[in-house]
Subunit: 343 residues, 2 copies
Amino acid sequence: VSTRYLLLAEGFSGDAHYGKTMRGVLRYRREDVVAVLDSTRAGETEEGIPVVGTVADAAPYQPTTALVGVATQGGRFPPEWLAILRDCVEAGIDVENGLHVFLADDPELSALAAARGAELRDLRRPPRDHSTATGANLEVPATIVLTVGSDCAIGKMTVSLELDLEARRRGIRSVFVPTGQTGIAIAGWGIAVDAVVADFIAGAAERLVVEGHARGGELLWVEGQGAILHPVYSGVTLGLYHGSAPHLLVLCHEAGRTEIEGAGGGPHAIPPLGELVRLHEELALPARPARVVAVAVNTRALGEGDARAAVAAAEAETGLPADDPVRFGAARLVDAVLSAREP
Amino acid sequence: VSTRYLLLAEGFSGDAHYGKTMRGVLRYRREDVVAVLDSTRAGETEEGIPVVGTVADAAPYQPTTALVGVATQGGRFPPEWLAILRDCVEAGIDVENGLHVFLADDPELSALAAARGAELRDLRRPPRDHSTATGANLEVPATIVLTVGSDCAIGKMTVSLELDLEARRRGIRSVFVPTGQTGIAIAGWGIAVDAVVADFIAGAAERLVVEGHARGGELLWVEGQGAILHPVYSGVTLGLYHGSAPHLLVLCHEAGRTEIEGAGGGPHAIPPLGELVRLHEELALPARPARVVAVAVNTRALGEGDARAAVAAAEAETGLPADDPVRFGAARLVDAVLSAREP
């Protein structure tokens, strides 16, 4: 049976507030989504998909899996959602959850799921046999490309997905390597590297590139996390960088953003792009030098002319090819990666 | 009742192989150590402390607490130790454990401990209410000094402890801030930042500097972890750096070491000290610029003349005051920190 998603978005109405996970699944697995649950918008549609007010109202669409579509900082679970989750499980619908709090650890919900034959899948649950990095990452016979960025939530996952799609269109054995809950929901495999024990970040990243190659990838697009100067998440960023052992980096930036958003104690200024390029290259392991080969500019907030100007400015600032792969297509960035790829 | 330690060192005989935790406690809490357990050396002494072959043989020394004195990479528990741990608990002796595997999670040992009134303290167990960093680190009204280094296990904790001791000798309200199992065993508080969930590394570090100040510190010496270019542990290093929000850094290096040790896939070259100074300063958060103000050189493998030459070479290479605080005293490095301290 293929997955038929009910996206749980209760109380996160409106364009700006829907979660990253929901947006990602709507964009990249839309064919698998049958309904969205949000009682404040029941009867409307979301990108052509019916919005329902209750789990019972979703029944005609025969969902197999409910996906928690929000992702809050720190990953706590909104308590008011538990009733909705119970309704899903009562109806025999599996639940996928990307928050740090694990549904399967709730004894009541777990018992109910067992009784109803529903599965609780916690996408951020680390593998049981986690381990430190071994050096196997340096032996993977594939070109590894990591997206890095000037901040969180500026589109690193999207860039990795778009470049992977474009590479596959060109017939390249290309694999997207998911490192966070949304990427895992989209691709159906992966490890949320922000949820493993800190000593095992690089080990988890290493395992992912090994698996990406085992899945047939000669070109691996590793989903980046955080930012190297992010006051909250930089540890995950650097552990993922060293553990995934990339040959090439694509620097992601949102046009016009000058400060890291959502971190306390700021303002936390974003350095000029040229400095970020240099800093990332200096942070490569001596055993695996990495080069930034392109800049992906997120221009969603801009009009067409300003968007083209922002791309040109990024090129001028870094001397690297730049583009917005969502808006203008991924060809230019894939070209830059392929021409830098080791023979 | 004050702690009377039985150090568990079974099978780790000999100078080179005793664990970091045991060495640290022997050096900085020696007055609390009553015996060492190591059946291969029963009847000998270790730095003047009696070595016993069994838990029963330790009884005359009335230990209150057994400390697991080894620290293996990845933190697994040597299975042959379980019999010794059971003997301790049977005898009503508390057990402190610094490995990633938690004793309290062993149902059998836990039940036995409950029955015998012994406590199982897992030093690496993260706090239950962990959280992401909030920016409170930037508000701590103390001078924060972090030790950073060119590799693991070169003496960052020791340098922090020695500089703290010297500062306290001078009457400064100085506090050592423990971030790993050995530091926690020595100081009796702290969080093992390598054992928290990756998203919470900076949050844990932030909490530690807040607590260090609450404990009366105007000058906080934060125990560093890992190395910024360590292929396995760099994520912990950077999360700790940004989360502890140091004003000043002391760069630690072992004279003569040219490669990171014990990491697979190498060789992993250590860059010149001058480059490490620059890299660390560039990685400071823009909201909290940090300067490297001194270099601590570990010269334990060298004779006196070579040691002095190594210190002089580090000074020449970085243009910063350098010294081996264990061998030659901490005065010079503390002077460097105090003169760089914000007024």
